[in-house]
Amino acid sequence: MNFSWFQLVAIAPEIVLTIGACALFLFDLAIPKHEKDKLGYFAIGILAVAFYGSWKLAAVETEIFSGMFTLDPYATYFKMLVYLAGAITILLSMTYLEIEKIHLGEYYGFILLATAGMMVMVSAGDLIMIYLGLELLSISLYIMAGFKRHESRSVEASAKYLILGSFSSAILLYGISILYGIAGTTNLKGLGAFFAAGAVDNPGLLLSMSFLVVGFGFKVAAVPFHMWTPDVYEGSPTPVTAFMSVAPKAASFAVFLRVFAEALGGVKAHWQPILITLAVATMVLGNVVAIVQTNIKRMLAYSSIAHAGYALIGIIVGGGLGTMSLMLYLMIYALMNLGAFGVVIILRKGGMRGEDIADFTGLAKKNPVAAVIMLIFMFSLAGLPPTAGFVAKFYLFMGAVEAGLVWLAVVGVLLSAVSAYYYLRVVMVMYMREPGRDFDLATSPAASLALIVTTLAVLFIGLYPAPLIDATKAAILQVP
């Protein structure tokens, strides 16, 4: 293996983030308790530097470290997505952590470490690297989920996530090892070449693919591997939930697609039916169970499950349109879901938990701006024009129709109508019920900035999606 400086340049953003995280852990000792905000801004600064680095590397397409690490526009696109999600999460976190009295510097460090993990995942050229990135991400998330360490729900979420997460990681690892047994390599391109060479008639293949599906299915919260989601989402600190529901999901989907399109593209006929079943089950269960939730975090958890079902359509379809629609979907979903959680976060103040849908009652009368922002996110999540949510769904369904899976698109749209019911309920209590109390929102300049950015983005993409579509199209994963 020959070493060159270029290799270090290619992973400069990852290095910056890791060093930044370590620096944060150190600075935390020196920063007094009431000034922890500074650490948040420092973390955003680190993310900005990494963003700049990735921006400069956007056109680079290379493989380094013997094919372990791939730098391509596809990976860069997802890196941009996780920087954005990380920065918005930090903006939403500061006041919330203050109110919950858990404002510790480590929090920001773990966000950076999780981000670094996701970057390794999306850039991995080898199954081993994927596993490495996934673990770095997961361990950070296990800790963040239990950050409200005095609250039993949070600790329970953390423990549950840790146990189930480790279990799924083990299954994933088992799948990888079987695959290695069949093909003799864990390199994605090598696997791709192996399966493209000829039909593989090995019962172990189906087994290993199933294990991979289980492992990734757990990370993206696809039914029936979604059991952890509602409890973990509900128990975790809300900004962590917001972060968990978008960034790791996007990174896992990015890897999911890369593995199945690049390494297992040759045996698509074997895995496509599995994923179709999974997608339908995920859309149905997520949307139907979300209807009966009274806790908004649980409702958004099931909504996030349902959205994973839609995103799976992108992998099933594959090809140019499928990949593009998946990438578009994840970016838009990140923006609107972070925004929706953002409104939930600013509701948390004083004795108000702000986690029940009923807590939104009459918000439109007391704080019309917050209500209209929530309304936009709810309609966007439901996929109604002229919001970005419509754009996201539109191209997914377009992909399904192009691939001849019209019935899957029909199932998807009908369940979209179902989903409108529970999103509308939030709008209904905000606008059509009389407020029973005064709202004292935990607004801060940082949180407001995050909400303004996400709202404008959702509206802008909804009205004029061409720039984002072009950017996405330029970054499509190239499969030989």
Binding site: F379, L384, F394, A417, L424, Y431, P465, K473
Partner: protein, 512 residues
């Protein structure tokens, strides 16, 4: 081909949106009301050049504007009008100031949000009628649900939340199938969403079959046709007056417009195939709606069911495939917008005074409110299709067109005209004449503002009733072209039997 030299249609469509955005900056409710009224009046004035400069000799789309919107998928911002859409655009701009005026005093909470919702509705409705790109059409079509949901749900009556969600989910479920159908057409029609380009293409019969089913559900729910009408009485009864007027006058027209713009010219074979079903459902709607209207104790419910009946004439006229039928149907859409809108205004005027919509609470109003009584009589007579009023012309043309090709349906539909006379006149008798309810003694007659809301509609009733020529002139070229488009298909359809078609349609969706 007329071209205003400036983006006329875009100005008309987006002027209300600009008004809604400007309203955000205002604080006083009175200022918002005047702004909304001003905006709708400006929009009305801006739309007049469309009527004047419209070239009545061609079926081509006029005042066309086209800009790339999402070039990667060949999606454009394309707008334009032909005779069919022009009338509906003008109907919308004509009614919007009236909608604002009629809510002047009756909406007393969250006035700003209400007026913004009304203005957003106007933009969305106009957009639906002028869009020449399917995606653009769909965006307006769905975007409209949001303000309408709020108008019913926030400012409506006691049971408003139920009515609003029912309205929303019903129409959303229908439209989402339209979305899939639209995408399928994109691939079948050569990767284009352009509405004119998607017309007149030789789509396979089985494909047309499924497309028609999806279109039909979307449009039939909107019309609404029997048996998809159940959301309508709830929505009408619970909506505030302005909401009922928007619903009845413009929103229902979108269903009919969908049939004329999409189903007939794009899917002529399937349209011909489904004709017996659509006609049967139309006739059922005409008679069933009328019977239900007969039984209602609530004024708004009565008018809502009369809407179901009157809209049955629209779908009947569209699917007899004759010039008279389709022109009659288009005219009937405009007439229904005018007359039913006016009737809802009349109910709203009463409701503002007494807070009751029950027929039994009234009686003898002709003595205390003579001017009001005159208006209600005029609109009721118009609604039952008295010669000299607008509805007579529309219904007469529809029946005439139907007699040419489908006499049996025409005879059955005529029954609806008779029933309309029964329920309308009976309603007028119970509300205006007979024993006066002492509770209603002190109520004043129409105020100047109220008169201003109904007077333009009276003019429209008699103008179309006595001299429909100018309105029909606008339609001729476009309707003749539409008839040609539907004839293109009939050749291949004749060879197809239902059983063949069903089988091939089923086979088309089965995995091979």
């Amino acid at each position: 081909m007329p071209d205003a030299g400036y983006p006329l249609l875009s100005i008309v469509v987006f002027a209300p949106l600009a008004g809604a955005l400007a309203a955000m900056a205002l604080r006083s409710a009175m200022a918002v009301k005047w702004l909304a009224l001003g905006t709708t009046l400006i929009t009305l004035v801006a739309s007049i050049p469309l009527w004047i400069a419209f070239d009545r000799g061609t079926h081509a789309f006029q005042f066309v504007e086209e800009y790339a919107w999402i070039p990667t998928f060949n999606i454009n911002y394309a707008v334009g009008v032909d005779g069919i859409s022009l009338l509906l655009v003008l109907l919308t701009t004509f009614l919007s100031p009236i909608v604002v005026l009629c809510s002047w005093n009756s909406i007393d909470k969250r006035v700003k949000e209400f007026m913004m919702a009304v203005l957003l509705m106007e933009t969305a409705m106009l957009g639906v009628f002028v869009a020449l790109d399917f995606v653009l059409f769909y965006v307006f079509w769905e975007a409209m649900l949001i303000p309408m949901y709020l108008i019913i749900g926030v400012w409506g009556g006691a049971n408003r939340i139920y009515a609003a969600i029912k309205f929303f989910l019903y129409t959303l479920a229908g439209s989402l199938l339209l979305l899939v159908a639209m995408i399928a057409l994109y691939f079948a029609g050569g990767h284009t969403f352009s509405i004119p380009d998607l017309m007149g293409q030789p789509y396979p019969a089985a494909f047309q079959f499924w497309m028609f089913v999806a279109f039909f559900l979307a449009f039939a729910i909107k019309v609404p046709m029997f048996p998809f009408h159940t959301w309508l009485p709830d929505a009408h009864v619970e909506a505030p007056t302005a909401g009922s007027v928007i619903l009845a006058s413009v929103l229902l027209k979108m269903g009919g417009y969908g049939f004329v713009r999409f189903s007939l010219p794009m899917l002529p074979d399937a349209s011909a195939l489904f004709t017996p079903f659509v006609l049967a459902l139309s006739v059922v709607a005409i008679i069933y709606g009328a019977y239900m209207a007969l039984a209602q104790a609530d004024l708004k419910k009565l008018i809502a069911y009369s809407s179901v009946s009157h809209m049955g004439f629209v779908t009947l006229g569209l699917f007899v495939f004759t010039v008279q039928g389709i022109e009659g149907a288009m005219l009937q859409m405009v007439n229904h917008g005018i007359t039913t809108g006016a009737l809802f205004l009349c109910v709203g005027i009463l409701y503002d005074r007494t807070h009751s919509r029950l027929i039994a609470d009234y009686g003898g109003l002709a003595r205390t409110m003579p001017l009001y009584a005159a208006m209600l009589v005029i609109f009721s007579l118009s609604s039952l299709g008295l010669p000299g009023t607008n509805s007579f012309v529309g219904e007469f043309l529809v029946l005439l067109g139907a007699f040419i090709t489908r006499p049996a349906y025409a005879v059955a539909a005529s029954l609806g005209v008779i029933l309309a006379a029964v329920y309308m006149l009976w309603m007028v008798q119970r509300v205006l004449f007979g024993e006066a309810n002492p509770r209603n003694a002190g109520h004043p007659d129409l105020s100047l503002r109220e008169l201003a809301t109904v007077a333009p509609l009276v003019v429209a009733v008699f103008w179309i009733g006595l001299y429909p020529g100018p309105v029909l002139d606008v339609l001729h070229a476009s309707v003749n072209h539409l008839i040609d488009q539907t004839r293109v298909g009939t050749g291949s359809q004749a060879a197809l039997s239902w059983s063949d078609l069903l089988w091939s349609a089923v086979r088309a969706v089965l995995p091979s």
